[in-house]
């Protein structure tokens, strides 16, 4: 059985909207006529734990989970989480990195250390073929709502896929409340427009 799949991994911190963002990626795939599977674990309601979601597009997708080292697009919503799940990205794959620091309590009461930005960037660049690094929160805040940061990241991601802009916008608008549609649209377009390529 010959199958081609495009694998996405989204990783963030509980409260960052990882699941909604991955729902959007999955639905866009379905809209374009592909078979889609997506997997995440929810059910821990507390804010602040590590969250991941796997999305796979293909002609026929079996497993809902991506394999380590085989992810084509890694959307990291936070820098420590980028490192934690980096092994899922295939060597030479694309990472969209939100340059946010969300410090876990293990670094406050314990001996754990939050990684330095230089270390994150160097490690990520060592693995990925393409690094798109941006401060999505600052961009979305400027456009009116810091909670629309994920649309900025999806906009940046979309420039590396063939899917039409209208497909993305239609799915985003379907998934966000009426009063936030416009800001999410603008955030998505801002994500598309910028040049976020990180050069080593």
């Amino acid at each position: 059985m010959e199958t081609t799949t495009t694998n996405f991994l989204l990783a963030g911190v509980g409260g960052q909207g990882t699941l909604l963002a991955s729902d959007i990626v999955a639905e866009v795939g379905l809209h374009t006529g592909l078979d889609v599977k997506k997997s995440e674990v929810h059910g821990m309601s507390q804010r602040g734990g590590a969250v991941t979601s796997h999305v796979r597009w293909g002609t026929r997708v079996a497993s809902p989970l991506c394999e380590m080292g085989k992810v084509d697009f890694f959307i990291a919503q936070e820098m420590l989480e980028a490192l934690r799940w980096l092994a899922y990205l295939k060597p030479g794959g694309t990472i969209v990195l939100n340059k946010q620091r969300w410090v876990p309590i293990s670094t406050t009461y314990g001996q754990d250390i939050y990684p330095a930005e230089e270390h994150v960037m160097a490690t990520v660049s060592g693995r990925a073929g393409k690094v798109l690094a941006l401060d999505a929160i600052a961009i979305s805040e400027e456009l009116g709502n810091r909670r629309a940061a994920n649309s900025v990241l999806l906009g940046a991601l979309s420039t590396h896929l063939d899917t039409a802009v209208e497909e993305w916008l239609a799915v985003i608008e379907k998934n966000v409340p009426q009063k936030h549609k416009e800001v999410n649209r603008q955030c998505f377009l801002a994500g598309r427009e910028g040049d976020w390529s990180y050069k080593k």
């Binding site: 059910g43 490192l83 406050t108």
Partner: protein, 590 residues
């Protein structure tokens, strides 16, 4: 057009399409969303029950009365409901009864990773297991038909990955299902020994017929491929194996009990070597081996934890079934700071565990968000077992002469689920146990469902039950209510209670920030007064971290409160010994 649905949404849809009239559940990951989605269909009566046993009894009653009914629960929920599973296996039903058991291999949110396929064999009922959302939906309908055809409850087992993964589903309409008239028949529905003796042969006969059905049904299908490797698989593991062995021959089992022995033999005769890829226990493997077929499973694929495509591949490579491939999986990223689940900023449970830790009492805790009181830096808890175990375990430790004082701690939902009989025991035997109910008026852990304490039902307003009044009504003389934010009172009340020679109940109102807000804006560190003493670091609030600025004298980092995370509870202010924290402004009521 197909719709993207999680397995749980698909099960709810399947129940609706199958003409289900009654559905009941107690929340539990990964099953919770089933009833939340059933609730969207107005032509089904649905409820959150007080616990899984009540949910199943209610569904059984509805099926006796002639309406299709469903109960849903997580794997350990079926432990609680197992008594009812066993008697309903004997009585059979009138209209169809389907029971969903959502297992959690890998324990994403559970206290163990039991394999509930054993329950099907144990209780002598059939079990179906879908591999994706389309099958999840289709199998619910099939399960109702089987239930009525063979007069048996039917179990559907999902796992976290089939429950929560989303895939495309084709929708159909609701079936028109007539209510079946109820006819009184005690020899079938009233299980006194004399009647039950007559039902047991019926059960054995039924399982024989179901075995025949399993042979003929295409839910168990041979998918021919390369003859050198033959894989038997079910559930999520089937999908992983399909991914990793794209060309192998497969026997896909949609019915995991009873097993189609003839089909298994036929498959084995077509391939050179048989392997079973299954999550958790060697359930299929052992049954295949009993048929005298040479088979390998757990010698290759791990018994622990959930499987994944890479775990299946790595195991297969190690066993020489597949060539090693360079996937670049391994990677050194340096030391990684942990990010475990933590009590939310401002969660009232934190105040309670802060005091318990300070008092150095032995804490027999229970299942819920407050179980996180066991984690550093709070580190306040000694034991956690299963829902409602806290009170019984606390009594046992007390009776056995524990050297320190001890207290039982449980949440409001847990209190109504399984705490009540234990409290009755304490009153009845006058065991001097201190029961602390951390009452946040929600079932927090599973996503903020209502419970009898909050009075909020699956559909809105029901009647709330006052926990303190229940305790008094049961005969507890010493019942005190207090707000978690009144730290000094909380401590004083617990100190008094542990000295008593009779059972006591302390109801602590503890805020869940998803339900209620604190009445102040964010707090701030007064940098010139903070000397980096680390006291406020030890409450484990995720809004507090080390700042870049060091105290000149101690050379320790000062504290920092992240304004976007602080919800203004004030615990850090109460804890700080240097008055280095400034309370937030009082909120003006809107």
């Amino acid at each position: 057009m197909k719709t993207l649905m999680s397995g749980n949404e698909a099960i709810a849809r399947g129940a609706w399409e199958a003409g289900t009239k009654v559905a009941a559940a107690y929340p539990g990951t990964p099953s919770t969303e089933i009833l939340q989605n059933v609730a969207l269909y107005k032509d089904i009566y649905s409820e959150w029950s007080a616990n899984e046993k009540v949910a199943l009894d209610l569904a059984i009653g509805a099926a006796y009365a002639g309406q299709r009914a469903m109960a849903a629960m997580k794997h350990v929920g079926l432990n609680v409901a197992s008594e009812s599973l066993f008697y309903s296996s004997y009585t059979g039903l009138n209209a169809g009864l389907v029971i969903i058991s959502a297992d959690d291999p890998g324990m994403h949110s559970s206290q163990n990773e039991q394999d509930n396929r054993h329950f099907a064999r144990f209780a002598k009922v059939p079990m179906l297991e879908p591999t994706d959302s389309q099958e999840a939906k289709d199998y619910v309908r099939l399960a109702f038909d089987l239930s009525e055809q063979f007069d048996t409850p039917v179990l559907i087992r999902t796992t976290t990955r089939t429950s929560h993964a989303k895939s495309a589903v084709e929708l159909t309409d609701r079936a028109g299902v007539e209510k079946r008239p109820y006819v009184k028949n005690p020899s079938k529905y009233a299980m006194i020994p004399g009647f039950a003796k007559m039902r047991h042969p019926v059960v054995e006969e039924r399982m024989k017929k179901l075995k025949q059905w399993a042979e003929e049904s295409d839910v168990n299908s041979i998918e021919p491929g390369d003859h050198s490797i033959g894989i038997i698989a079910c559930g999520a593991a089937y999908q992983y194996a399909r991914e990793v062995f794209p060309t192998a021959s497969f026997l896909k089992l949609g019915m995991v009990w009873p097993l189609p022995e003839g089909k298994i033999r036929e498959f084995a005769s077509q391939v050179e070597k048989v392997y079973v890829v299954e999550e958790l226990d060697p359930f299929i493997e052992e049954n295949v081996r009993q048929l005298g077929i040479a088979v390998e499973g757990k010698s290759i694929f791990p018994i622990l934890d959930e499987l994944s495509p890479e775990r299946v591949r790595q195991s297969a490579v190690k066993a020489g079934l597949l060539p090693a491939e360079a996937n670049g999986g391994a990677l050194d990223v340096g030391p990684l700071a942990k990010r475990p689940p933590v009590l939310c900023a401002g969660c009232g449970h934190r105040d309670v565990f802060w005091i318990l830790r300070k008092m150095k009492v032995t804490v027999n805790s229970d299942i819920g968000c407050y179980a996180l009181g066991v984690m550093p830096p709070l580190d306040a808890t000694d034991t956690i077992g299963c829902m409602g175990a806290s009170i019984g375990v606390a009594m046992g430790m007390r009776i056995a002469g524990l050297e320190t004082s001890n207290v039982a701690v449980l949440g409001d939902s847990t209190f109504f689920h399984a705490g009540l009989p234990a409290l009755a025991d304490a009153v009845y035997n006058q065991t001097p146990v201190v029961t602390i109910v951390v009452d946040n008026r929600t079932t927090g852990m599973t996503g903020h469902q209502g419970n009898p304490g909050s009075g909020r039902t699956l559909h809105g307003k029901g009647k709330d039950i006052d926990i303190a009044a229940v305790a008094r009504g049961m005969g507890v003389n010493h019942v005190v209510s207090v707000d978690a934010r009144d730290l000094k009172d909380v401590e004083k009340i617990i100190r008094e209670a542990v000295k008593l020679n009779e059972p006591s109940v302390i109801v602590i109102h503890s805020i869940c920030v998803f339900e209620e807000h604190h009445n102040r804006e964010e707090y701030t560190i007064i940098a010139e007064d903070c000397n980096g003493c680390t006291l406020c670091f030890r409450i484990g609030c995720p809004a507090i971290s080390k700042s870049e600025e060091l105290d000149a004298k101690s050379q320790r980092p000062k504290a920092w409160i992240e304004p976007s995370l602080c919800v203004g509870c004030g615990l850090c202010f109460d804890v700080c010994a240097h008055q280095a924290i400034e309370p937030g402004r009082e909120k003006v009521p809107a």
